[in-house]
Amino acid sequence: MQRFLFAIFFGAFVAILGPVVAYAKPVVVLTLQGALVERDAKGAERLTPLASAVLKPGDLVRYDVVATNSSADPAAHLIPVARVPAGTTYEAGSASFATSARVEFSLDGGKTWSSKPSLAMKTPSGTIEKPAPVAAYTALRWVDEKTLAPNRSVAYSYEVRVK
């Protein structure tokens, strides 16, 4: 309802001021899939969708995030954010991304981000900064300056290990 009232108010405001430029809204559809990652004796990778996998501690899970611009308008500043679910830890170096993107991690559920998160630790000699262990990661995101063209998709993936 608020959005509706805002549209009415905004339309009235434009009508009063004169001709306006129409901005189309891009629509990005985000899909998430998970699969159990196993390797056979020869090292070949085998993926089992989580829906049919028996997950146990120590298992490696790969999540695929696909962003699809389903509109006719470009989507800029696309920043997919993925979680490290409770009960899992981020698998170091597992995040894949488009070449134009960079990956940032959060230790506080997405409040703050850093490519190399660190922790302040108190020691007898004072507070020092230490790289945060990957086990402390709670979320990650891909920051991309490229625009996602209409009807295009971009995929990201990362892995977590069940604790």
Binding site: P26, V28, A76, L119
Partner: protein, 807 residues
């Protein structure tokens, strides 16, 4: 029941005191994993903007999955421990649930290996749970506390474990309490023997115990091995060999008629033996030493006599002494002052009760370290350091050939160090402790003779052969005399009876017999002969007569005895077991009512009876006497008893059956030629009647002048002896007519005038009734007493005269 569990890491806490983490998110406990049943939910979001930098948000679908059971466990054994033969240890295993959920633990059967693994026996499993034990404690387990339970069996232990569901990271301890046999080998201090206890287990996480999961799972087996060292104080292991006369056993050939004993000894401990002053005081020897002795066996109150003895030593097997001397004692208890050094040849005095060997040296004779892995009761000759060989006389008498007539063992005393729970100190501590069977560990050596009862050389000898029962005690061996069977067979309760069954053969214990006189109901034995040998009438109907007999094993071992019965032709023979009263019982053991022979073997008849009749067996022979058998005649059946072990050993008894009894009466009359004109009974004729009574049974000797009293007659011959014989005469009782009446014109008169004079009996002591002149009837109590006996072969005659009436 799911149990709460908390844990902490000491190391982690210590670190936290130095370094505190700022803004560190919660991290799951290491080693436990994400709990089974946990849902892992994931959802991605995205922001983006349009060309006007309006920011939009997109949210993905949720991906949810559930963590399943991943059971696992670890088993950590306790640290190395040390025990001694005969000791008890507890190996504690720590079992940790390292899975991601609530699990139960299942133990595989415990396995114990190592050089002494076979000597270990689990006594109990003591389980300690992190929280109070769940559910009832299954029998036969017992609760030791709220959290601790002891189970004597592996099966009960697993039942208990199955009742207790442990959460992730829970720690359960299982203490395996085991006993080590006292005869376990010890090894050396440098290379001790070992007991390795293996515990293997699995953990199972069920769906019921782990909500949210979809399948139960069982972990791979985890295992832990606890190793314990086995060492021992110095000791003397001994093994005794007993070899029967003229035989070979255990590679030892005994070519003599005596029993050979060989005693092999060695120090099976982890440290050297030490000499004892108490041994010196016992033997009165010039030097201290170690000593092993053998209490000589006895049987029937007679102690075996040592015929010869010799001792040998082997330095290669650890002998380090300077002398090994044979001693013997003449004291029943081997008391101090009773011991004498053996001369080295010949027999010991018959009064010797112990034989032993003193091993001594200067200053301390020792066997030395022996790594031959001997044990009490297990010292092969090849490992023997000091070997005693001696020969003893065999036992004699009943039962002497039964197995294990002689049972004896060797007991040893030696010096050890400190209590053998800490054998290392035995090497460095000069204290001399006594090591001997029955002697408490740590008993100090003194200058007082070591001859306490039930200890040391007086350690009780078992009654049966077997393994060693204590440290420094050998195995017990059993020996006996050579087998010699011998049997007796005779009348009921008198297997050794002597007699002559027919009065002709010489009296012996092969000719003894049981006489049975019988008169079937309705049968009247009648003598049809007027004089001499009676001619009896036939029974007319077959009848059964039971005769009890007794066999006795008078050989020197438990034996079987076969009885073979042969009755006259036409008889039937059956053999029965006997009641204590001599009556048949149960079904026939052998024979039929139509065959005159039967054979049966009584097995396992003991010898060496502890009671007068323990080596005897009663049996009953049932004879079917044919209808054609005639009165007054003895029918003789022979019964031969034969030893099973010695078939030449036999003994015979006889059963003699006399239909109608042995007594036959014959009656005759003589007419007086002077008064009986023409040789016939005419009025005035004097007739003399003679009633002869004859015991027709065979007599071994002439009729005794004075018949024996009835009480002096063995019951098995009573059937041959007639007593309380009353001869009755009645002239008016048919078919007699000399007292009958007749009638003529002159009136009614008797056929005779009655007794012309009182009747007489050749047995002068006989007494009569109504025996007066003119009497027509009288009775004669032969011998004048109811107990007077007319012995077999004896006879007498009653005579009286009457005159034919002249009326």
């Amino acid at each position: 029941m799911i149990k709460r569990f908390s844990f902490g890491s000491t190391a982690a806490l210590a670190a936290a005191s130095i370094i505190s983490v700022v803004a560190l998110p919660a991290i799951a406990k290491a080693g436990t994993g994400t709990p089974a049943g946990t849902s892992i939910v994931n959802q991605a979001t995205s922001t983006y903007s349009d060309t006007a930098n309006n920011v939009y948000t997109s949210t993905s679908n949720k991906v949810t999955t559930t963590v399943q059971s991943a059971p696992s466990l670890t088993i950590v054994p306790g640290a190395l421990q040390t025990t001694v033969p005969g000791g008890q240890l507890t190996d504690t295993f720590t079992i940790t649930n390292t899975g991601n959920g609530n699990a139960t633990v299942t133990l595989a059967p415990l396995a114990q290996s190592g050089t002494d693994g076979a000597s270990a026996t689990v006594a109990a499993y003591v389980v300690t749970f992190p929280t109070a034990t769940a559910g009832a404690v299954p029998a036969p387990c017992t609760a030791l506390s709220a959290t601790s339970v002891s189970c004597p069996t592996y099966a009960a232990l697993n039942t208990l474990l199955a009742n207790n569901v442990e959460p992730a990271s829970a720690v359960v301890t299982v203490g395996v309490v085991y006993n080590l046999a006292s005869n376990a080998t010890a090894g050396t201090l440098a290379a001790p023997n070992t007991v390795v206890t293996n515990m293997t287990a699995t953990a199972t996480q069920s769906v019921a115990n782990n909500a949210g999961t979809t399948a139960a799972a069982t972990s791979a087996s985890a295992a832990g091995n606890a190793t314990d060292d086995v060492v021992s104080d110095a000791r003397i292991d001994a093994q005794k060999y007993g070899i029967q006369p003229n035989s070979t056993a255990n590679g030892i050939t005994n070519a003599t008629a005596n029993i050979e004993y060989v005693v092999a000894t060695a120090n099976g401990g982890s440290v050297a033996d030490r000499d004892l002053q108490s041994v010196k005081a016992l033997l009165g020897s010039s030097a201290a030493g170690v000593f092993f002795s053998d209490k000589l066996p006895s049987f029937g109150g007679t102690t075996a006599v040592v015929q010869s003895a010799a001792v040998t030593t082997s330095a290669a097997n650890g002998y380090g002494g300077t002398a090994a001397t044979i001693y013997y004692s003449t004291s029943a208890t081997g008391a101090a002052g009773s011991w004498t050094a053996y001369s080295g040849s010949g027999a010991l005095p018959s009064t010797a009760t112990f034989i032993g060997v003193l091993v001594s040296g200067t200053p301390l004779a020792e066997y030395g370290t022996n790594a031959n892995a001997t044990t009490a009761g297990n010292v092969t000759l090849a490992k023997s350091a000091v070997t005693l060989t001696f020969y003893v006389s065999t036992p004699t008498g009943s039962g002497s050939a039964d197995t294990n007539t002689y049972v004896n063992q060797v007991d040893a005393v030696n010096g050890g160090g400190q209590p053998n729970t800490n054998p290392d100190s035995a090497v460095t501590n000069p204290a001399q402790n006594v090591v001997a069977p029955g002697v408490p560990t740590g008993t100090a050596d003194t200058t007082t003779a070591i001859d306490s009862g039930a200890q040391g050389i007086l350690y009780p000898t078992p009654t049966t052969p077997g393994a060693s029962t204590a440290i420094n005690a050998s195995n017990a061996v059993g020996d006996s005399a050579a087998l010699l069977g011998s049997v007796l067979n005779g009348p009921f309760g008198v297997p050794g009876a002597v007699g002559s069954y027919n009065g002709v053969v010489a009296a012996s214990n092969n000719n003894d017999n049981t006489a049975v006189a019988f008169t079937p109901v309705g049968f009247t034995p009648t003598n049809t002969s007027a004089s001499g040998a009676p001619v009896g009438n036939a029974l007319g109907t077959a009848t059964t007569v039971n005769v009890a007999n007794t066999i006795q094993n008078v050989g020197n071992a438990t034996d079987g005895i076969t009885v073979s019965v042969t009755a006259p032709a036409g008889f039937g023979v059956q053999i029965f077991a006997s009641t204590a009263a001599g009556l048949p019982t149960g079904a026939a053991l052998a024979g039929t009512t139509t065959s005159n022979t039967a054979t049966y073997t009584f097995a396992g008849v003991p010898s060496g009876a502890t009671t007068a009749t323990a080596n005897q067996v009663n049996y009953v022979v049932a004879y079917t006497v044919p209808a054609t058998a005639t009165a007054f005649n003895p029918y003789d059946a022979s019964i031969v008893a034969t030893s099973t072990s010695t078939t030449t050993a036999t003994n015979t008894t006889h059963n003699d059956l006399i239909p109608g009894g042995p007594l036959a009466l014959s009656k005759s009359v003589t007419l007086d030629p002077a008064t009986c004109t023409g040789g016939v009974a005419v009025p005035g004729c004097i007739m003399t009647y003679a009633i002869a009574y004859l015991n027709n049974a065979a007599a071994a000797s002439a009729c005794p002048a004075t018949a024996p009293a009835a009480s002096a007659i063995p019951s098995y011959l009573a059937g041959y002896y007639v007593k309380n014989l009353i001869v009755s005469e009645n002239g008016a009782l048919a078919p007699n007519t000399w007292g009958a009446t007749y009638t003529n014109a002159a009136g009614t008169f008797k056929n005779t005038t009655g007794l012309n004079a009182p009747a007489t009996d050749t047995i002068a002591s006989s007494t009569f009734t109504t025996n007066t002149v003119g009497s027509y009837a009288f009775t004669d109590l032969v011998g004048g007493s109811a107990t007077y006996v007319v012995a077999p072969g004896c006879s007498g005659t009653v005579t009286f005269k009457v005159t034919v009436n002249t009326q």
